[in-house]
Assembly symmetry: C2
Homo-oligomer: 212 residues x 2
DNA sequence: GACGGCATACCAACCGGTCGGTATGTAATT
DNA sequence: AATTACATACCGACCGGTTGGTATGCCGTC
C-alpha cells in the first residue's frame, strides 16, 4: 500500500514467449511448420526447451498462439499504422490499400509472405486447432477489409451479386496465390504482376470505363 | 524361335515407382511434404523401404520426380482430355477453361488442390531442386494456357500492357490462392467464389461492356 | 515459503538413409 | 545348351541422429 507504482503498465515481460513466437513466424515462413523443429526455435529464440514447454503446452499450441499474434501484427501493419488510412474517398482508399500491399511485396520472399497462409497448407487436415486459428486470422483481415470495400460500394455502387466480404476474400486469395508464385520463382516480381491485375479488376468493377 | 510373342508390349512394369509417386502426391496434398515420411509412403504404396531407395536416391529426388509426373498428369487432365478443347471461339474456349477449373473445385480439399503449389511453399528456401521442379511445373501450365490466351487476344484485342503469359500466371495465382482459402475454411465454396471473380475479370478485360 | 520463470537432463519413438543379400531376367561366350 | 557375367527390382534389418515431449530442480520475487 505504498511506493512501487511506476515501472509497470502491463504484466508485460516481452521475454521468452514473444521471442519464441517471433522465431516461429520467421522460420515457418521460410521452411514451413513441420520442417521447423522445437529445438531450432529454441536456438533461434535463445531460450531452452524447458522455457518453450513452460509457455506452450505443445508445438501445436505454439502454432495457434503464433496465428493469433500474426493477426495482431497484420492488423497493426496493414491497417492501424498504414499510410493509406488517411485517404478520404473510399474507392481511392481501397486502391491505395492494394498499392500498399503491392509495395510490401519486395525483398526476400520470406519477408513478405503470409505466416498463416503457409501454415494452414500443412495443417488443415491434421490439426483442427491450427486450421481454425489460421482461418480466424485470414477471416479477421477479410472482415476488416470488407468494411472499407463496403464504403466504396456505398459510394460508387456495385454490380449485383458481389458482396464486400466476398470481394475482400478474393483480394486475400490473389495475395496468397501471388506469394506461391513468388516462392516458385524465388522472385517477387511475378507476385506484383498478379496484384496489378487485381488492382485493375477492382478499378474496372467500380468503374467499367476505367481500364488502366 | 516360336510362340511367346504376345503378353509384352512395353518394358512397362507400372509397379513400385509409379505407386510411390501416386502415394506421395496424395499424402503431400493432405499433409505437406515434410510431414510425410518415407515409411508412410512405403506403407501407403505397399512397397518396402528398399524398393523406395532403389527407385529414388533420396526423398528430395522423389519430390522432383513427383513434380514432373504432376506436370504430365495436369496436362492430360486439364488440356488433352478436357471437354472444353472443342470450343471454337478462342475467348469462349478460355472462359470454358475457367469454368472447367471451377467445376474441378469440389469434394474434399485434398482432391482438387495443387501438389506442386503445396510443396513449393515448404521447399523453396531449403531445396533448390524441388523449387525448380515446382516452378517448371507451374510454368509449363502457364505457358500452355498462354497459347489459348494469346489466341483470344489476337481475336478480341487487349488493353496495352497485358501479356498472354502474364495473364496466364495471374490465373494460376488466383487458383493457388483459392486453394489456400479452401484449406483454411475446409470448404471449396470460398475457392469457387474467387474463381468466379477471376472469370468476371477476364470477361471485363476482353469486353468492358460485359459485366455478368 | 509459494510460485512463476526458467535451465538441465533425459526419454522413447521416429527420421532419412544404408547395407548385405536374394530373385529374376538378359545376353554374350563357350 | 550350358555357363558366365552383369543388370534390375526388391527385401528388411539396421544405423546414428533428431523428434516432440517430460521430469526435476534451481532461483529470484512476492
Amino acid at each position: 500500500m505504498s511506493s512501487r507504482l511506476a515501472l509497470r503498465e502491463k504484466p508485460a515481460r516481452p521475454s521468452a514467449r514473444a521471442k519464441i513466437i517471433g522465431a516461429a513466424i520467421e522460420q515457418v515462413r521460410r521452411q514451413g511448420f513441420a520442417a521447423t523443429s522445437v529445438d531450432d526455435l529454441c536456438r533461434a529464440a535463445g531460450v531452452t526447451k524447458g522455457a518453450f514447454f513452460h509457455h506452450f503446452a505443445s508445438k501445436e499450441a505454439l502454432a495457434v498462439a503464433g496465428a493469433e499474434a500474426w493477426t495482431e501484427h497484420a492488423r497493426a501493419r496493414i491497417f492501424t499504422d498504414a499510410p493509406w488510412m488517411g485517404v478520404a474517398d473510399p474507392l481511392d482508399r481501397l486502391i491505395a490499400h492494394i498499392e500498399f500491399r503491392l509495395a510490401m511485396i519486395d525483398g526476400p520472399v520470406e519477408a513478405f509472405t503470409c505466416f498463416v497462409g503457409t501454415m494452414v497448407q500443412e495443417a488443415y487436415a491434421t490439426s483442427p486447432a491450427i486450421r481454425q486459428a489460421c482461418d480466424a486470422s485470414i477471416t479477421a483481415y477479410a472482415e476488416r477489409l470488407a468494411e472499407d470495400v463496403q464504403l466504396a460500394i456505398d459510394c460508387h455502387g456495385m454490380i449485383h451479386g458481389i458482396t464486400a466480404l466476398g470481394l475482400a476474400f478474393h483480394i486475400q486469395a490473389v495475395l496468397q496465390g501471388a506469394f506461391i508464385l513468388a516462392k516458385a520463382k524465388d522472385d517477387p516480381a511475378i507476385a506484383r504482376d498478379s496484384v496489378r491485375h487485381l488492382k485493375r479488376y477492382l478499378q474496372m468493377l467500380f468503374d467499367p470505363a476505367t481500364a488502366t
